[in-house]
């Protein structure tokens, strides 16, 4: 429990901010909640140095305070209960209001870990005391322990279903304390502790990632923050040599094709836990598609090819297929993917490849090979909710 200081320089903050802005990302900065006064209230003097500087640069950013407070005691020997942390957030909220640059800044928290017993208690007391000042409730989720995870875990419908229970637990606590408050995933991935070696950075990780995106949207979690874009461990989207990994390509396709409106969808003739189906309005910023189009995405956890037939009202529609399959002899443990038969890799250091669709004629069945996933844009569907 010994800690040494580290210094974040103004230039480092400048570099971080410019990276976010140039990548069209919104920066949320997590402040250190473990700096305490004698009476255990949060000591905000260090944070004010950073707030002063960012305000002087007119940086437009949001804020958090603390990370996984449920394990503060284990990690640092300092125990902060939910009620005290809530008051610290109120303190930070009023501090932010002192800066004209941060009058409208958002505040998120408490970034608790998975909703187990003591974490649920902490979250409840935090929301009771500080819930009114946060814009969204943030929590963290991982399916498995990176050191013990197996290939079977990554292909298990039962493991994927555990996420539903975790979401329901969190939504229930929020509903009972700050009803209507938005709930976001502030940090999430496949396996904790840096990921599962030779699994989290391969094609097979896509089942957890794509299913989490589908379930989160369906259950009302509007923002999912991936651990990590680039960094330590194997659950990164981009490796140490800046090579995109399968989950990067999956995320790119998702952003290009999937809109934010979630539609109801059903399945007949197979186990929906093994053939997992999601349906959204198509991303209406995609110039290739128009209002009313819908995007279906499917995950096949059967060890055989599944042929999916669309319902009659969609029978005469043209469909664009985006089938992602592993590339290379390692199959689903490969770190490279092919889209409709074309291997996806950067054209050069800065240029992404084209994401080439495969048009299917009306009435086609959607053939999904064993252990695979893909997207299907159904054109001219004229879905009322998407117009």
């Amino acid at each position: 429990k010994k800690y040494k200081n580290t210094t974040i320089t103004k230039s480092t903050v400048d570099i971080l901010y410019s990276f976010a802005k140039c990548s069209k990302l919104d920066l949320i900065f997590g402040l250190n909640a473990l700096l305490r006064k004698r009476g255990l209230q949060w000591d905000s003097s260090n944070a004010q140095l950073l707030l002063d500087y960012c305000a002087s640069q007119h940086y437009n950013m949001s804020w958090e305070l603390g990370n996984e407070p449920n394990s503060f005691r284990k990690k640092s020997g300092i125990y902060i209960d939910g009620s005290q942390l809530g008051q610290d957030f109120i303190h930070l909220y009023h501090l932010l209001r002192n800066y004209s640059s941060f009058k409208n800044s958002k505040l998120y928290g408490p970034d608790v870990g998975q909703p187990r017993k003591n974490t649920q208690k902490l979250l409840k007391s935090f929301l009771k005391s500080g819930g009114k000042v946060i814009d969204s409730v943030t929590w963290h989720h991982y399916y498995v322990n990176g050191r013990h995870a197996t290939r079977e875990d990554f292909l298990s419908p039962e493991v994927l279903e555990t996420f539903i229970t975790a979401v329901k637990d969190v939504l229930q606590i929020v509903d009972g304390t700050v009803p209507g408050k938005k709930v976001w995933l502030g940090e999430t991935s496949s396996a904790y502790g840096g990921g599962a070696p030779r699994l989290s950075n391969t094609y097979v990780a896509g089942f957890m990632w794509l299913d989490k995106l589908g379930l989160s949207a369906r259950m009302g979690i509007d923002v999912v923050m991936r651990q990590v874009f680039y960094g330590a461990g194997t659950y990164h989207l981009v490796d140490a040599n800046f090579e995109p990994l399968p989950d990067y390509w999956l995320s790119l396709l998702y952003k290009k094709l999937v809109g934010t409106k979630v539609l109801k969808v059903g399945l007949k003739g197979a186990d929906p836990k093994k053939l997992r189906v999601y349906l959204h309005c198509t991303n209406n910023h995609n110039p290739m598609y128009k209002e009313g189009d819908v995007t279906l995405f499917l995950l096949n956890l059967y060890n055989v090819t599944k042929h999916v037939q669309l319902p009659h009202n969609l029978y005469n529609k043209h469909i664009d297929e985006y089938l992602l399959l592993p590339h290379g002899e390692q199959h689903i443990l490969s770190r490279s993917v092919q889209l409709n038969g074309h291997v996806l890799r950067m054209v050069d250091n800065k240029t992404l490849p084209a994401l080439t669709k495969k048009p299917l004629s009306p009435g086609s069945t959607l053939g999904l090979p064993a252990f695979s996933y893909g997207f299907y844009v159904i054109k001219n569907a004229k879905a009322i909710a998407c117009i």
Binding site: G231, A232, A240
Partner: protein, 48 residues
Amino acid sequence: STLEDRDFWESQVNQGICGVRSIPTAVEELLLSQWPIQEKILLKEQYW
């Protein structure tokens, strides 16, 4: 500011916030050489 800050960032500012000038090789090599050690520390802490 750190060595990288000075060598890279302060010269970068006049490029405008998204001016894409590649990072000096010396700085990139320094950062990449530090990364394996950094990654070990991060992973140990994350797992802990």
